[in-house]
């Protein structure tokens, strides 16, 4: 058994590790900030159309999990890890009054509003946007309503850590086929699923008559 390490040496080691971490953190700050800035841009170019005729059975649920160890081929995404200071949900629309609630708040309130959103919702026609944000990044959607029904859900801005193909097109398809923001969680892309669901939830809140 090794003899105990001295407290002074421990302190020096701790300071050295912290210094190296700080150096790396500061050095990588520009790229992290660039990613964070791009994540906060309004909905733009990364939209992927969802096919409205897809069935829910075709989409992934927790029984068909994906793994995040695979070597990804998509280079669309980047990180928005600067957003980690507080997990917030927001909407890109200036009309939304519920946009700045915290994730925990929105989640608890969201769960209590599940039945409202899912079953009795009557929506105005038009295209409505929403955004979900947490530590793993930001996801924005545009939900199109025609004759009171969701006919399209598009991911308009995807700045999550893992590639968009983890959730797209399956989750937008689920939104259309199930007519709700309450979609199946994709195992291995939990954070992305939550963000997407939150974004759709806020869009549908705005669409409510």
């Amino acid at each position: 058994m090794a003899k105990k390490m001295g407290k002074r040496l421990m302190g020096i080691c701790g300071v050295a590790v912290t210094a190296v971490y700080a150096a790396g953190y500061i050095y990588t700050m520009p790229s992290a900030q660039a990613n964070a800035a791009s994540a906060s841009l309004p909905a733009a170019s990364t939209s992927t159309p969802a096919s409205s005729g897809a069935s829910a059975s075709a989409s992934a649920s927790s029984s068909t999990p994906t793994t995040n160890t695979a070597k990804h081929t998509s280079k669309q995404h980047s990180t928005s890890s600067q957003n980690h200071q507080s997990t917030k949900s927001s909407s890109t629309s200036s009309t939304s009054s519920t946009s700045s609630t915290s994730t925990s708040k929105s989640s608890s309130s969201a769960s209590s509003k599940k039945s409202q959103a899912a079953s009795t919702a009557k929506y105005k026609d038009g295209t409505f946007t929403g955004t979900g944000t947490n530590s793993y990044g930001t996801c924005s959607v545009a939900v199109t309503i025609q004759h009171g029904k969701i006919v399209s859900a598009k991911i308009t801005n995807y700045m999550m850590h893992y590639p968009q193909y983890y959730i797209d097109p399956q989750l937008p398809q689920e939104v259309v086929s199930m007519q709700t923001w309450q979609i199946y969680i994709v195992s291995g892309a939990t954070a992305s699923t939550y963000n997407f669901a939150e974004a759709v939830y806020y869009a549908l809140q705005k669409a409510k008559a």
């Binding site: 058994m1 090794a2 105990k4 390490m5 421990m10 080691c13 701790g14 050295a16 590790v17 190296v20 971490y21 150096a23 790396g24 953190y25 050095y27 990588t28 700050m29 790229s31 992290a32 990613n35 927790s62 029984s63 999990p65 994906t66 793994t67 995040n68 160890t69 695979a70 070597k71 990804h72 998509s74 280079k75 995404h77 980047s78 990180t79 890890s81 600067q82 980690h84 200071q85 507080s86 997990t87 994730t103 925990s104 989640s107 608890s108 769960s111 947490n134 530590s135 793993y136 850590h161 893992y162 590639p163 969680i185 994709v186 195992s187 291995g188 892309a189 939990t190 954070a191 939550y194």
Partner: protein
């Protein structure tokens, strides 16, 4: 061993810390279900270790080590993991402890073995939610302070420091020379939520006494090796399994050197 005695041992401290972390992490509404998952993992662990103890007629029926392994598995696996996968992962982890061993010591960190098996065989997602990755930043102190405490208690501070030091140095080098993937960059690895995984592994998995060396020079080599292997995997493949692969590679090298030393010693004894 009764509960009072257990709680005065490093294992008892670690168990208390992991229970605390699980409770804090589950405060996040989306992670409430994590408590249920942790319960499933713990019950599985106690059942398997209980059966093994009965088979081998061990006096010790209550498996504190099994509980620690179960809590680590529950803290790492995604909360959306089905219950039967949690059971299977915990079972694989504990069976690896009882089957893949040298003498009485397991060769691989049981939790890391089970988790890597689950990732590649069951295709499970891992979120490391128990590392408080999705809670406010300052709560990381709830992991770091007890982590330092436990690493001192089990006399593994040099190992933890060498791992974290080498890991951060390699991430800095990767950033300076633009090495690695366009996604999963050093900027990601050095920030919340991803840095939480490395810190969690360093304090609560790397400090497992049976599967890691005891002397300080070997601890430093071991910690550095885990960081090097993990960083190479990270640079080439990304994902989150690189930490587990690094740890298991370190375990294997540790076992190989231990075996070689034992062989050498036995040869010396025979010569005399």
């Amino acid at each position: 061993m009764n509960l009072d005695k257990l709680m005065k041992t490093p294992k008892g401290y670690l168990l208390a810390i992991l229970i605390g972390l699980t409770l804090v992490a589950s405060l996040r509404p989306q992670d409430h279900i994590g408590l249920l998952n942790a319960g499933i993992a713990v019950i599985t662990a106690l059942a398997i270790d209980g059966i093994v103890a009965k088979l081998y007629k061990n006096k010790k029926k209550f498996s504190d080590g099994g509980m620690i392994t179960a809590l680590i598995i529950a803290n790492v696996l995604s909360n959306t993991t089905p219950w039967y996968i949690i059971v299977a992962t915990t079972a694989v982890a504990l069976l690896s402890k009882h089957i893949i061993k040298s003498g009485r010591k397991p060769i691989f960190n049981p939790a890391a073995f089970g988790l890597l098996f689950a990732i590649y065989i069951f295709s499970t997602g891992q979120s490391w939610w128990g590392s408080l990755a999705l809670l406010p930043t300052w709560l990381i102190l709830i992991m770091i302070v007890p982590g330092i405490f436990i690493s001192i208690k089990v006399n593994k501070f040099p190992q933890v420091a060498s791992f974290l030091g080498m890991y951060f140095v390699l991430m800095l080098i990767m950033a300076v020379f633009h090495l690695g993937l366009p996604y999963d960059t050093p900027a990601d690895a050095l920030r919340i939520p991803f840095v939480n995984s490395a810190i969690y592994l360093a304090f609560f998995m790397l400090t497992d006494p049976p599967t890691t060396p005891s002397t300080y020079p070997k601890q430093i080599v071991f910690g550095s090796l885990v960081a090097i292997v993990g960083s190479i995997i990270f640079a080439n493949y990304g994902g989150l399994a690189y930490l587990l692969i690094g740890l298991l590679a370190g375990n294997l090298v540790n076992f190989t050197f231990m075996r070689a030393r034992q062989k050498k010693m036995s040869e010396v004894v025979i010569e005399h």
